[in-house]
């Protein structure tokens, strides 16, 4: 695989990814912070649908021997500590590493600061890695849930997809997605009067 080919494929895939993130509104800070405050569930809907779709696709591709799997090693301590920090960052950024790019593309200026903070954080980790790798990142195996249960990957992946579909049907029944978009499709569900009160100091 040449680097040029990889870049062309990457840009083409990224454009599709970016359109899907923008159209679903999941890149909106209002949707992401709303999800973390358990007031808006569009992020979970997009996320779980993408996981289920990926699981079905990989069940087929791997089941028929077209592709190998590339799971990451299970490093439980690093997964928990890193995951907690990642989540805290996502809540305060109102974005994740991928949606930061979508926010910049859609015109959010604060996302440029998120991007530069992210680049600085990634470099800081690079400097710290030789030290951290000896302690926090003890080596771990590539453990797959279906192997633990003793079933083929494709069976486990289809089971996961089926469970997710059931969860999404229930979630959509409880919280219809159209009601979670907000008037300006940014996940801002607050009535205008409340928004005004937050920015204007009331007179005595």
């Amino acid at each position: 695989m040449s680097v040029t080919f990889a870049i062309i494929v990457g840009i083409a895939m990224g454009v599709v990814f970016g359109v899907a993130l923008e159209k679903s509104r999941v890149f909106e800070p209002g949707i992401i912070v709303g999800q973390m405050q358990l007031r808006n569930f569009i992020m979970l809907k997009v996320f779980l649908t993408a996981v289920a779709t990926g699981a079905v696709v990989l069940a087929a591709l791997h089941g028929f021997g077209v592709v190998k799997l590339y799971p990451k090693a299970a490093l439980y301590y690093a997964d928990v500590v890193g995951g907690l920090l990642l989540g805290a960052g996502i809540a305060l950024a109102g974005a994740c590493p991928g949606t930061t790019a979508a926010q910049i593309g859609a015109g959010y200026r604060d996302a440029i600061f998120t991007l530069f903070g992210g680049l600085a954080g990634a470099v800081a980790y690079g400097y710290a890695e030789p030290m951290l790798s000896k302690t926090l990142l003890a080596s771990g195996g590539k453990i797959i849930l279906s192997d633990l249960v003793g079933i083929p990957y494709w069976t486990g992946a289809l089971a996961l997809a089926a469970i997710i579909v059931a969860v999404l049907v229930a979630l959509e029944r409880a919280r219809p997605w159209r009601d979670e978009l907000g008037d300006d499709v940014d996940g801002d569900l607050a009535p205008p009067s409340r928004a005004r009160r937050a920015t204007i100091v009331p007179a005595e």
Binding site: V3, I7, V9, G10, I11, G14, V15, F17, G18, A20, L21, G30, V33, R39, I42, K45, T49, V51, G54, A55, V57, L61, Y70, K72, L75, V80, G82, G83, L85, L86, G89, A91, L92, A93, C96, G98, G105, G107, R109, D110, F113, T114, L115, F116, G117, G118, L119, A122, V123, A124, G126, K142, L145, L160, E172, L181, V185, D188, A195, A198
Partner: protein, 172 residues
């Protein structure tokens, strides 16, 4: 599924994103991910300022001119292009800062929001690199591959996100 629509069903968008695993696995022989591209770009910038940075194995591995490294940088750049095109086609223009931040931060000051965004980005990527993946690499790809470590990372990510959004931010 019109490109001029301001919003699609989250389920339609989720299916489109999930289908992107096909070219990732078949053409690039990897899974969807986003956060290592920050090490590639950040590492190249760091190496300009501090040439010894490229002597660190972790940074050297990420700034090497390999297809996988540059595919992911291109993917993240493409996300920005795709979101821009989608926004222009639908006319869903955004203000410089989402209106939710004035409430969430209790302040309408852009400076405060920019400072919080920078620190948040730093924590987000530092955490993602410790965990070796983000919402895409662990969340979308790891979970779909039934990777146990990824499921632990995703649970921790939501736990950290929910705790921070409830305790450090005001209700949006």
């Amino acid at each position: 599924m019109s490109l001029t629509a301001k919003a699609w069903s989250p389920y339609l968008a989720g299916v489109v994103i999930g289908l992107l695993q096909i070219p990732a696995f078949v053409l690039i022989e990897t899974a969807l991910g986003a956060s290592s591209s920050y090490v590639t770009v950040g590492g190249l910038i760091a190496a300009l300022v501090d040439p010894s940075a490229s002597g660190i194995d972790y940074i050297a591995k990420h700034i090497a001119a390999t297809g996988k490294n540059w595919w992911q940088v291109a993917l993240v750049a493409g996300i920005g292009i795709g979101a821009f095109v989608s926004m222009r086609l639908s006319g869903a223009r955004r203000q410089a800062i989402s209106p939710i931040w004035a409430r969430a931060l209790g302040s309408a000051s852009p400076t405060k929001r920019y400072a919080v965004a920078f620190v948040a980005g730093f924590i987000m990527l530092f955490g993602a690199r410790i965990a070796d993946g983000c919402t895409s690499g662990h969340g979308l790809s790891g979970t779909a591959q039934l990777a146990v470590g990824s499921m632990v990372a995703v649970a921790a990510m939501f736990a950290g996100g929910i705790a921070t959004a409830m305790l450090a931010l005001r209700r949006v």
